[in-house]
């Protein structure tokens, strides 16, 4: 039978398999982390899996998001993932939400599931998941990646610490895998470990990574396990005040100049003042007519590397002689 190899384990058995069948998990973000997590959870026979993602598949996702194929760029991630996951295990009920997780839907959605799995790539959504989990009393499995490093923990599990206990203050330096680069295996490993934490919680097996932060370095092979102290005041604040939105937005320091922001829309901090035209790199050649040619335009990205390529490309191929690269990236043009 299909679950024979895991039922053989003492930690699972027939009763454990029944627990998995009665469990439900919401996966927030069906990307580098969410894909492998979903594959293993569906394979293991979790009764109901929810997928929430507003994004579409792009070609540069395929090296790490192995639920998707060359036929999928442009299609809804959540919808495609559901099709593939049903081919893996048709016994699992799969719910699809093709919308962003927001302060308006988070609590209602979380009520429908036992455990939340964080497959997101930005601080705003991680704090949102954290706060909504505190309010709905759900545990969540966190993972984050920077280049070849990963962080993994379980928050809000059996009165354990929350994400705000680990990082009470956030940073504006939200650097995505799209911007820094990442090996496909890194989110593959982290997402799979997140699925393992979900299984452990449902089965009541082993030591759940609550109150601990696991640090993984794919290159050095050296892992660390750090103890996280609970900050009761951080948790009480959310219980009393509700979700506290984390907005990573900044003002531009010189509002007289004209800027072109070529970062993708999910890259932070977002700029909310001054004259800033936002055209993501992926759309730039289709939207050239929006870029003025008569005045100086300062082009920026996260670090100054991609914007340099854009300035060079537009100058040599499209006769833009008014573009200036912001060498140090977004951090050098915003108000501190």
């Amino acid at each position: 039978m299909r679950y024979d190899r895991q039922i053989k384990l003492d930690e699972v058995g027939v009763s454990g398999q029944e627990k998995l069948r009665n469990a439900s998990v919401l996966i927030v973000g069906v990307g580098g982390l969410g894909c492998p997590a979903a594959q293993y959870l569906v394979g293991a026979g979790i009764g109901r899996v929810g997928l929430i993602d507003h994004d579409r598949v792009s070609l540069s996702n395929l090296h790490r998001q192995l639920l998707f194929t060359e036929e999928d760029p442009g299609k809804s991630k959540a919808a495609v993932a559901k099709l593939r996951l049903q081919q893996i295990n048709s016994e699992v009920e799969i719910d699809v939400f093709e919308e962003p997780l927001s302060i308006d839907n988070a609590e209602n959605l979380f009520q429908l599931y036992d455990i939340i799995l964080d497959g997101t790539d930005n601080f705003e959504t991680k704090y949102l998941i954290n706060d909504a989990c505190i309010l709905t009393e759900k545990p969540w499995v966190y993972a984050s990646i920077y280049k070849n490093e990963g962080q993994l923990s379980v928050f809000n599990y059996q009165e354990g610490p929350s994400y705000r206990c680990l990082f009470p203050k956030t940073t504006r330096q939200n650097i995505s895998c799209e911007a820094t680069g990442v090996l496909g295996v890194t989110p593959g490993i982290l997402g799979t470990m997140q699925a393992a934490e979900v299984l452990k919680m449902i089965l009541g097996a082993g030591n759940v990574l609550s109150g601990k932060l696991k640090l993984i370095n794919i290159l050095s092979g050296q892992d660390q396990l750090l103890a996280i102290s609970k900050r009761v005041e951080e948790i009480e604040k959310i219980k009393n005040e509700g979700i506290i939105p984390v907005r990573i937005e900044c003002k531009i320091s010189d509002e007289t100049k004209f800027y072109l922001d070529i970062r993708e829309i999910f890259e932070q901090p977002r700029i909310n003042s001054g004259k800033v035209l936002q055209i993501p790199l992926s759309e730039i050649e289709d939207r050239l007519e929006e870029i003025p040619k008569q005045e100086d335009v300062l082009v920026f990205c996260q670090s100054g590397k991609r914007s340099k390529k854009v300035v060079d490309l537009l100058k040599t191929q499209f006769e833009f002689n008014n573009l200036i690269n912001v060498e140090g990236g977004v951090e050098t043009i915003i108000d501190e």
Partner: protein, 78 residues
């Protein structure tokens, strides 16, 4: 006294290394060490950086000979 310092994420890039052994004055607290290194390596957004002393994420402690201090930035890629 000597302490071992480990750097993670973008802090390792600011520092140009993942680990070093430092000589610090006795009586130095974890927070003192953080302030020193933040200035030395121009670590940005220092308020968000968490310290773990001997694998414990609690930096309100005085350091002792042989302690291991980890500098941990938040990151959010996925």
């Amino acid at each position: 006294m000597k302490v071992t310092v480990k750097y993670f994420g973008m802090i390792a890039e600011s520092a140009g290394r993942t680990e070093e052994v430092l000589e610090v004055a006795s009586g130095t607290s974890a927070k003192d060490l953080k302030d020193l290194q933040v200035r030395k390596y121009e670590i940005s957004d220092a308020e968000s950086v968490q310290l773990a002393v001997n694998q414990n994420l609690d930096s309100k402690v005085e350091l002792n000979e042989g302690d291991e201090v980890a500098f941990l930035p938040p990151f959010a890629g996925g």
